[in-house]
């Protein structure tokens, strides 16, 4: 990710429609979305792997394939069962050789909101209902319980993956060809949405980063984080993101170097019981650590 240079496709002629067998391959590969899940880029490794059959078919020259693979390694986090929706949209944009910047911003803007929908649909609704129906069968000793449980959920999952892929791909093709006239303006608008969504991610995903210092003070312990919240809630996630942005953009740090720095900050902070969490600091400190 050393690309300060603007990424652009060399061959800007739209590629032919991606074949059905490739789409099917991508749908099955999408099950490995979280294969290399990690805290820095989340699902990007699995995302790129799932996109690869389509990308290889679209970008026949190596330089464009490299460009496409590079920007498909961006941070992404979405719901694993709904990911094919994002894949379909991005694939259609890749096929029509849309401006790389636009693809990047559309991808994060579509991916991020899907997480909540998927959780509500699947983990809060379908799984509890199915479990409620089948758990007692299992407890009574029937094999039908686990079999039904697996079949219901797996069929629902794969049907979603299939349906969303085709729907999104066709939808994307229609939308993308419409916006080519105002490509530059569309890129700007998409970037506005992308930046807006990243701002939301900072406070939505980052809220776990808090100070845990609680100074004993009779019945009303002094919790430092509460004072920080009075200045600006989520000030630490915002500050840390901007700091990392500064290091990467202005100081030319690589992501790996930033990760190293964060590891040190996290562990040293835990040694002295500065960060929130349920752990005992290594060094005895005069305050309590709260979550």
């Amino acid at each position: 990710m050393e690309s300060n240079k603007e990424l652009k496709y060399v061959d800007t002629n739209p590629a032919p429609r991606v074949s059905k067998s490739t789409l099917t391959k991508m749908i099955w590969r999408s099950t490995m979305l979280q294969a290399s899940f990690n805290y820095e880029r989340m699902q990007s490794g699995g995302w790129l792997w799932a996109m690869l059959p389509g990308l290889e078919e679209i970008h026949t020259n190596k330089e464009d394939l490299a460009t496409s693979m590079t920007h498909n390694m961006d941070f992404i986090n979405t719901h694993p069962f709904l990911v094919t929706f994002v894949m379909g949209i991005v694939l259609s944009m890749e096929q029509l050789k849309t401006d790389v910047q636009t693809i990047r911003t559309v991808r994060i803007s579509v991916a991020a909101p899907l997480g909540g929908i998927g959780d509500a649909l699947f983990w809060y609704t379908l799984v509890p209902i199915t479990a409620g129906l089948t758990a007692n069968m299992a407890i009574k000793g029937s094999f039908l319980g686990p079999v039904l449980y697996f079949v219901i959920l797996f069929v629902a999952e794969m049907a979603l993956r299939y349906g969303l892929m085709y729907w999104a791909y066709n939808l994307g093709m229609k939308a993308v060809s419409m916006i080519t006239e105002y490509a530059q303006e569309f890129t700007h608008a998409a970037s506005v949405l992308g930046v807006f969504v990243v701002g939301a991610l900072i406070s939505n995903y980052g809220a776990g980063t808090k100070l845990g210092i609680s100074i004993p003070n009779g019945k009303a312990p002094i919790v430092i984080q509460n004072y920080l919240d009075m200045i600006l809630p989520c000030i630490l996630p915002l500050g840390l993101t901007l700091w990392m942005f500064y290091l990467i953009k202005k100081k030319g740090w690589t992501p790996v170097k930033c990760i190293g720095l964060i590891l040190v900050i996290g562990i040293v902070g835990a040694i002295f019981g500065i960060w929130a969490g349920s752990y005992t600091p290594l060094v005895p400190v005069p305050w309590k650590v709260v979550a």
């Binding site: 099950t31 490995m32 979280q34 294969a35 899940f37 990690n38 805290y39 820095e40 880029r41 490794g45 699995g46 792997w49 330089e63 693979m69 590079t70 390694m73 941070f75 069962f81 910047q101 990047r104 994060i108 899907l114 909540g116 929908i117 799984v127 479990a131 089948t134 758990a135 069968m137 407890i139 029937s142 094999f143 449980y149 697996f150 105002y182 700007h188 608008a189 506005v192 949405l193 930046v195 807006f196 701002g199 939301a200 991610l201 900072i202 939505n204 993101t241 990392m244 942005f245 953009k249 992501p255 990760i259 964060i262 590891l263 900050i265 996290g266 562990i267 040694i271 960060w275 005992t280």
Partner: protein, 263 residues
């Protein structure tokens, strides 16, 4: 104790460890996993009962929004070992397995943290247009996660209930390290955000970044709305983006003189 049981147990644990985040994301659930482990340990009936009971326990303790609840894979494996091999009753086995489930959570945090380091390798493969490199990164990651889980399953099988005490001790002594690691894990996403910002953030867009930050804060703190925060924020974002598109589009038209004759 039988070697075949150990080998089979290690293999299914390896698969379930991967399945909890990839593959079907359903087979690892206690409801399905416990009967399969029961088959290996020679007591399917107990597997079905523990599976059903554990599954009901887990409703309301789902792996949503990146939160890591006590790990269901190691919970299932160890509860089954305790119930079948140590002849504990179902509830006691489910209680005793929790320290292992907590350990599973540590293993997951650890893997997700160190896998951040592999992203540099994936970036390099991407720049070289080398699909095999991407496959490798994913394989290595699955291998690390699966192996760590399989090893703990073997320890639980061989050490049995005697392992609970040392594990409890270890988890207490190493708590600062695991605490620090999970804090760092929680902060690593800021690097991912920073890279996104480096790409997208033009100088005229700082306001939008802060506006998005605030919108998510406000909506996220309203209890009735919080689970749909990002979707609701995206709706606002779409309105702003459409307006931006209209304004810049109009500017373009004016520049091209498209309006001059009409007005």
């Amino acid at each position: 104790m039988s070697v075949i049981e150990i080998v089979l147990l290690a293999i299914v644990t390896f698969i379930f460890a991967i399945d909890q985040f990839s593959l079907t994301e359903i087979a690892y659930r206690p409801m399905v996993a416990c009967p399969i482990i029961g088959l290996i340990l020679g007591d399917v009936k107990t597997g079905l009962v523990i599976g059903g009971t554990y599954e009901l326990m887990m409703i309301g303790n789902m792996p949503v929004g990146g939160a890591q609840p006590p790990n269901a894979v190691l919970g299932s494996v160890v509860a089954m070992i305790f119930a079948v091999k140590a002849k504990m009753d179902i509830n006691a086995a489910l209680g005793a397995c929790m320290i292992f489930a907590t350990f599973g959570q540590y293993v997951v945090t650890f893997t997700f943290t160190i896998m951040s380091g592999l992203m540099a390798r994936a970036d390099k493969a991407a720049e070289e247009a080398n699909p095999k490199g991407i496959t490798q990164v994913n394989l290595i990651s699955c291998l690390i996660l699966g192996t760590l889980f399989a090893v703990i399953a073997i320890i639980a099988y061989v050490g049995g209930t005697a392992m609970s005490e040392p594990l409890q001790q270890l988890s207490k002594n190493a708590s600062w390290f695991m605490g620090g690691l999970s804090v760092a894990g929680g902060m690593m996403r800021f690097v991912g955000f920073a890279i996104l910002l480096k790409i997208m953030l033009a100088n005229d867009m700082w306001g939008y970044l802060l506006a998005g930050f605030v919108a998510a804060l406000v909506i996220g703190n309203v209890k009735a709305l919080s689970s749909a925060t990002l979707l609701l924020v995206a709706f606002i974002g779409v309105a702003i983006a459409l307006n931006d598109f209209r304004v810049t589009g109009l500017n373009k038209k004016v520049e091209e003189g498209g309006f001059s004759d009409g007005i």
